[in-house]
Amino acid sequence: MSEINLPYWSTRRDMSEMNIPYGTPLNDMSEMNIPYGTPLKDMSEMNIPYGTPLNDMSEMNIPYGTPLNDMSEMNMPSDNIQANDMAEKKSEPCPKMVLAMAYVPKQVWETPYEVTEGTHRGTLFPELYKPFLGGGNKP
């Protein structure tokens, strides 16, 4: 091997932001004016200290994830306007839930799979085994 070909993404001339060797100066980042992040009193959703109760999350009733035929957005409509209309019709207000916040119920211990079975399945815990079932087929 006589020649080393650099991968295409490594050419530095394409990375103009590299001209600032020490990163973005702090005075260019106005959001940094709040040095300690969003104050808790501004986050009303934090009033639920332990997250959304499970019984408010009706979608959790499907133990094997969303069947593909319930995910109409996967149909990939031909134009975006149609897609937006569909999204608007679909979105219904969820009580006590705010946009752009993810809720993950805390895992509780359960008897794990035997180790080679777990490695094979990709998780050690039966509760977290969620194979993708295209078309909504049940195992």
Binding site: K106, T116, T119, F125
Partner: protein, 103 residues
């Protein structure tokens, strides 16, 4: 330390895992995977006694499997305590691209 010999143990050893070496390596991987999984659980539940005792038990099993493999087939990691340093065996291993099962 007793090896894990539950009836399931061989169920997920692939049909094309023919050599003893591959099977031994698969066991090391499986124990390590179990430790990572329980480690993640413990990140969220640091005082869970059952998880802690599972972690301890499988840490022992993983180290035993790793030790057995190393003594028989050579180093898995460069600095394992069971590596035979009478010569630099690290470079004698099949490298990933020389491993037939991954080609």
């Amino acid at each position: 330390m007793k090896m894990d010999t539950t009836p399931n143990m061989n169920m997920f050893i692939h049909a094309n895992m023919t050599s003893e070496r591959e099977i031994a390596l698969w066991k090391v991987q499986a124990y390590e995977f179990a430790l990572v999984e329980v480690g993640l659980f413990l990140d969220m539940n640091p005082n869970d006694k059952t998880a802690l005792s599972y972690f301890k038990q499988y840490r022992d099993l993983k180290h035993q499997a790793e030790s057995d493999f190393t003594k028989k087939y050579g180093p898995i990691t460069m600095d394992h305590m069971d590596n035979d340093l009478s010569s630099w065996k690290w470079i004698q291993n099949p490298w990933p691209w020389e491993n037939e099962s991954e080609v």
